[in-house]
Symmetry: C2
Subunit: 152 residues, 2 copies
DNA sequence: CGCAGATAGTTGCAAATGCAACGATATGCT
DNA sequence: AGCATATCGTTGCATTTGCAACTATCTGCG
């Protein structure tokens, strides 16, 4: 245990550097394979988790924490690769549903073991189960508060 | 406590979304002021912590986890603002020392309270001291392992 | 000493980002 | 119904990013 006077500030600093370092490592590893980058995985996974395998653009953007304009273009790339498709929303003439395709699900399944192995190697391996639970709980609380506060 | 079967995978997912969400919130808040963006702070702080207020470019890049080419241009911006300066390294004719200036220290001091308040508001506020210690320790271990393994 | 290979930092380039502005549609108020 | 206002998704633009290539310098080995 640290005996740092400002444990919370320290935790924040470490959180930042952990994110940067691990994303860099994992991203590089992923880039070494022929598989798509990490943000494609996020999109596919969000869609696959969602009811009916589809989500509105703005909702998807919110969930993966990306600006709408960036999502527009990320979705363009995924759509070109036939991993998702945009279908007109029946409820709302302005918007679309992003829907994961069969190929999209297949791609996510193919990416998962690789991604999982990297997470294991760079993250899970180094922390205990209790720590994992604590991290999950504590950070989830902060995220929830941030989401509930000022609307993005 | 969660009773998730895959607590570690879950912790990883939450870590990602916490980082994205909180950086977004804090970054937006910072942008609302007239102060420079967050990555400027990181550079200034790294330099201020370092022996003699200076570091070699590659070492600075490593510490803030940024590619060398990006650091070159980030340093350009900071240097234009007179917050740092590049001085030829006496030891190595190829490289420079990035040194923080008096104005650089002043700017960091001015940014800190604002940044600190945002960290408090979006992060520290929501976690306990024990959780902070756990997060700091666990993630520091992972970072250390990542750094020690394959050289970046 | 002298040359091969590694390393420091910069630059060209293509890709990805967010903001602001836009057309299109939905919603609410009278 | 009719008009003001908000929201959806896309696009133009300026900024930032990393990779690969480049020059300059250092290091080691014959």
């Amino acid at each position: 245990m640290t005996k740092d006077k400002d444990s919370k500030g320290h935790a924040w600093a470490v959180l930042l550097s952990a994110h940067a370092t691990l994303i860099d490592k994992i991203g590089t590893a992923l880039a070494g394979t022929k598989l798509p980058p990490l943000d494609w995985y996020d999109v596919l996974w969000e869609l696959e988790k969602a009811e009916g395998g589809k989500l509105r653009m703005h909702e998807l953007a919110r969930r993966i924490v990306l600006s709408r304009s960036s999502l527009t273009r990320l979705a363009d790339r995924l759509e070109s690769a036939r991993l998702i498709e945009r279908v007109d929303s029946p409820d709302d003439g302005r918007g679309y549903h992003c829907a994961i395709t069969r190929a999209g699900r297949a791609m996510r399944s193919k990416m998962w073991p690789v991604y999982k192995a990297e997470i294991e190697h760079h993250f899970s391996r180094h922390i205990t189960l209790d720590e994992a639970r604590t991290i999950g709980d504590a950070l989830a609380r902060a995220v929830k508060a941030a989401r509930d506060s000022a609307p993005s």
